[in-house]
Structures are given as structure tokens and as C-alpha cells.
């Protein structure tokens, strides 16, 4: 068949998206989603990542201990490169699925733009996703809990915290940080809490969950008391560790990743509850980060079931584990959305309307845009607003005056690249 008439149209070619694409281009669809669904919401992203390895020299330079600083600088220029002093295994880092997901480990094109490259990239991401605030976590450092040298974790924690507080966070009031605690060395954690508890841009404290420390150990009681006193939350950020003997049975990154990100937080929550820590630190606000939600009803049911039968092993508890868990906070990503009935039941049982905080995990491979929340059919408008920002404002004591530009403005500044 031949048409009678071919119509004229305005046609523009769009470029491929890859690891060096401008964040605003990669996320332009998220900007359109903001424009359509949540432009007037107050949005806080609890968990986004600095690819600190890209600025690793800046961090290494701030190490207090001159031996480790010298060792780090030497490794940086040599074989260790951007992984100097770190214990990540680059050959086992399959996050980008063989380069299929380009933004994992991305390099922002910032030539000719004034400012720190991390801050420029973060600002572009916040504007594109419609975020008022973003809390930045490290990436490669998430595995430091398994580093065989405790003194390296202490040195890098000190340097990273300084880098964040002195160099990065003051550059944009929408960026906030949680203080990295080198949890293998409790006294060092206490010293850091003392030093930074009053820092305005540090709105809480974080422990990387991937480690084998029992969190109810008495060595942490002074630390918890100090954190409780500050009124700021303590976040456990989960992660993976393929070297763990159980996970070493798994032959694909996806299998190990799916299980290990829930595993470490399950262990820590279990120890926290069974040892009656909520009764011993009733004002300490606990936040569990990057384990998704599906593990929460599992653990609630499992622990309630066992505690009822073996109360003599958890005598400090005055209520069921699930009831304490309903008073903790959780971040949303990676939100398991493949079965809406299960997700709805999960959100109900965990009291998501008050306890769940949106997180993007940008620019990691399994990130979630805010539309993962706004598109849920069973949530009320108020529940969406709470999860996307108002719960975080309450937990972190953030002013809810909007700080982000409107989506129209963002799209007008860089229209239609995807």
C-alpha cells in the first residue's frame, strides 16, 4: 500500500545513553514524571551515593596518620589506583551487568562547569528527580567493615568524614550527610560522634551493615548512649560480601546481591530486638537502609513466632518483635514491586505511612526514581507525601520549605534528550 500523503513533522535525533551521559539526560524521564505527578511534593532522598573512588586522592590526602596517608598515596599512584587501601574486589564488581547499565560507576561530564564534580553531578540528579534534599553515602567504603585492618577503617572514616563535612556538604544546602562510624573500633566511633555531633550538615550516623560485629555487644553501649543523646538517628546501611562462606555458594552476582543485602540487616535487627535494645535505648531512632521491604514481614513473623515459644531467651522484651519493628524506620529502595498485593500487605504491616522513607540509591544500578512511590495504586496522596519526604523531615528534623526548582524549569534548561 502506498500512502497518499506523508506528513511533515519536527524530527530530532536522540543520543544513546551511556556512562558518560549528562545526568540530566539520563534522568529526563524522571523530570517528566515529577512534572506530571509530584512537582509540589517535598521530597527527600535518604540514600544516594558518592562514587568516592573518583575523588579518592582528595580523601586519602586527609588521612591523619602519616604512615597510612603515605601508603595510600603510593597505592593511588600505583596498582591500587582509585581503590587504594580499600578491600573491594574490582574483578567481582558486576553491578553494571557487563556495562549494560551505564550509570553504575558513571563519570559526569563537567568540563567548563565551575564547582566540585561530585556536587555538580549531585545537583543535576537532585534537580532531575525533583528532590529537595539528598543524603549522600559512600560506595566503595560500604565494605570496609570486612577490612582485615581495623586501623585502615578508622583512618578512612576520619578522612571521609572530614572530606564530606569540610569540602562537600557546605557547597549545597540540599546535600546532607550521615557520619561514617568505623564500627570495628568503638572508641574511634565515640571520638567521631563527639567531634561531629553538632555539625549542621551531619543529620545522623551510619554503620555499614556488612560486617560480623554483634551489635548488642557491650562495647557499643557508650556509643549508643552518645548517639541517643544527640537525638539524631542511627542508620545501618546494608551491603554485600561475596566472600562470606554462605554467599560463596552462589555463582551469580544477582543471587548473592539479592540475598546478602537483606541478610546483614536481618542479623542486626534480630540481635537488636532479642537483646532488648529498644528497651535499653528507648529514644535511639534506628533506620535500616537499602534492604528493600520484602524481608520485613518475613522477619516480623519469624521472630514473633519464636519469641512466643522461647520467652526465656528474650526476657528483656516487653512486646512482640514486630511491634518494635513497627517503630523503626526503613528506606524504600530497592522496592520490590512485582506483586502489588504483597507490597500493599507489607506496607500495611510495617506502618509505611509513618515509618518508610524514600531512597533512590542513585547512581547505583538498581536505583529507584520517586515514581516508584507515586505510581503505587494503593497509597493515599498523604501516604505518598509522607514516604517521599515528610517522614524524613520528622525523623531528621528538616525544614519542609521547598528547595528544588520546578520540573518545568529543569526541562526548559535542558529539553528533551530522552
Amino acid at each position: 500500500m502506498t500512502s497518499n500523503k506523508l506528513e511533515a513533522a519536527r524530527i530530532r535525533e536522540l543520543e544513546a545513553i551511556h556512562g558518560q551521559s549528562d545526568t540530566r539526560d539520563v534522568l529526563a524521564r524522571a523530570t517528566s514524571q515529577a512534572q506530571a505527578a509530584y512537582d509540589d511534593y517535598f521530597v527527600v532522598d535518604i540514600d544516594a551515593h558518592v562514587s568516592e573512588d573518583h575523588f579518592w586522592g582528595e580523601v586519602i590526602e586527609l588521612i591523619d596518620n602519616d604512615y597510612l596517608r603515605d601508603l595510600g598515596m603510593t597505592q593511588l599512584k600505583g596498582f591500587g589506583g582509585n581503590n587504594a587501601l580499600l578491600n573491594i574486589a574490582p574483578g567481582l564488581s558486576h553491578q553494571s551487568v557487563g556495562g549494560r547499565i551505564g550509570h553504575q560507576g558513571r563519570r559526569e561530564p563537567v568540563e567548563g562547569v565551575e564547582g566540585h564534580p561530585f556536587v555538580i553531578a549531585a545537583q543535576r540528579g537532585m534537580d532531575a528527580m525533583g528532590l529537595d534534599y539528598q543524603i549522600v553515602f559512600p560506595s566503595a567504603m560500604l565494605l570496609l567493615g570486612m577490612h582485615p585492618q581495623d586501623e585502615v577503617e578508622v583512618a578512612l572514616a576520619g578522612a571521609f568524614n572530614r572530606w564530606m563535612v569540610e569540602r562537600i556538604l557546605p557547597m549545597d544546602r540540599r546535600l546532607k550527610g550521615l557520619l561514617y562510624l568505623p564500627y570495628n573500633t568503638p572508641e574511634a566511633c565515640e571520638a567521631l560522634v563527639e567531634k561531629y555531633a553538632g555539625a549542621d550538615d551531619i543529620i545522623g550516623f551510619t554503620v555499614c551493615s556488612t560486617r560480623n560485629n554483634a551489635i548488642h555487644s557491650d562495647v557499643y553501649m557508650r556509643l549508643y548512649a552518645m548517639i541517643e543523646e544527640t537525638g539524631k538517628p542511627l542508620a545501618f546501611h546494608s551491603g554485600y560480601h561475596w566472600g562470606d562462606p554462605s554467599f560463596a555458594q552462589l555463582n551469580r552476582f544477582l543471587s548473592m546481591h539479592a540475598l546478602s543485602f537483606t541478610h546483614y540487616n536481618q542479623i542486626h535487627v534480630t540481635n537488636w530486638l532479642i537483646n532488648a535494645m529498644p528497651e535499653r535505648f528507648p529514644k535511639l531512632k534506628m533506620l535500616w537502609v537499602e534492604s528493600g521491604l520484602a524481608w520485613i514481614p518475613f522477619l516480623m513473623q519469624r521472630l514473633d513466632h519464636e519469641v512466643l515459644m522461647r520467652p526465656s531467651e528474650a526476657p528483656g522484651m516487653k512486646r512482640l518483635p514486630s511491634e518494635y519493628m513497627q517503630e523503626m524506620w526503613y528506606t524504600s529502595q530497592p522496592l520490590e514491586r512485582t506483586n502489588m498485593e504483597l507490597l500493599e500487605a507489607t506496607m500495611k504491616v510495617m506502618k509505611a505511612e509513618t515509618q518508610l522513607l524514600y531512597s533512590s540509591d542513585w547512581p547505583h544500578w538498581d536505583w529507584d526514581p520517586p515514581s516508584t512511590i507515586t505510581s503505587l495504586p494503593f497509597l493515599s496522596d498523604q501516604a505518598k507525601r509522607n514516604i517521599l519526604g515528610l517522614n524524613a523531615a520528622r525523623l531528621f528534623n528538616l525544614d519542609t520549605t521547598p528547595l528544588k526548582p520546578k520540573a518545568d524549569q529543569v526541562l526548559a534548561g535542558r529539553p528533551g534528550r530522552s
Binding site: 536522540l14 539520563v26 524521564r29 528533551g416 530522552s418
Partner: protein, 126 residues
């Protein structure tokens, strides 16, 4: 074809087919057009997962699980010599370029755009 659909020529077939893929914004509608194994396909540039710009992602060979038929032992992962997948750059959903179906769950599908060659021109119907 609905009453208000229209035919738009996007360029000469001989030139476009050399490029394997072209992604276009046509009056605000974004589509990807693919020239693979002598076939032409066009898909809306909206991922069925979360609306990402699927057509702007990588084109990769389909990954196959090799299994020895007689022993049922694994031959490991292998790359297909002929099947091509389009990877959404947002989270990695992979779709067969020729039929638009997700590699594992074909309930996730790309939305097709009618495309043909007419008088040497590639014509899409929007």
C-alpha cells in the same frame, strides 16, 4: 490505524539501515527504529518497567544458558550469534529487538510503532 494517525517519513532506507538504530523525537513522541538482520522494527521509547528511555540503551547479544543435551550439564553462559537485545539504560530490563519481549517474562513488552519502507523511505505511523 486510527483516524487521526499519520505517516511520517524519517529518512532513506539505504542510509538508515547502515546505522542499526536511530532514536527520534517526532513532535514530542519518542521512538526507536532498528534495522536488524534485514528486518525493521520501531518501538516506543518508554520502558514498561518504570518509563525509562529504553530505546536509548545498549544493543547486546542475548545471553544463553548453555546446557549439554545428553548430560544436562551446564556449558556456562554464552552469547547468541544472532539474537539481539535492547537493554533499558535505567535498570537493565532486556527486550528482544525483533519481538519486543522481555528476555524472561514476556508479559513485559515494548509497544510497537508501525513501520515500513515506501518508495525508498522509512515511514512510521504515529
Amino acid at each position: 490505524m486510527s483516524a487521526d494517525s499519520r505517516d511520517i517519513a524519517i529518512g532513506a532506507y539505504d542510509e538508515l539501515k547502515e546505522r542499526e538504530r536511530i532514536v527520534l523525537d517526532i513532535d514530542g513522541v519518542s521512538i526507536g527504529v532498528y534495522f536488524i538482520a534485514g528486518e525493521i522494527r520501531a518501538w516506543h521509547n518508554v520502558c514498561p518497567h518504570l518509563g525509562g528511555p529504553v530505546c536509548q540503551g545498549k544493543i547486546v547479544p542475548r545471553t544463553l544458558q548453555g546446557v549439554d543435551e545428553a548430560t544436562r550439564k551446564s556449558r556456562g553462559l554464552q552469547l547468541s550469534q544472532d539474537e539481539k537485545m535492547l537493554v533499558c539504560p535505567w535498570h537493565g530490563f532486556e527486550f528482544d529487538i525483533l519481538n519486543g519481549r522481555h528476555a524472561i517474562d514476556d508479559r513485559h513488552r515494548l509497544k510497537a510503532v508501525p513501520v515500513r519502507v515506501e518508495a525508498g523511505q522509512v515511514v512510521v505511523t504515529l
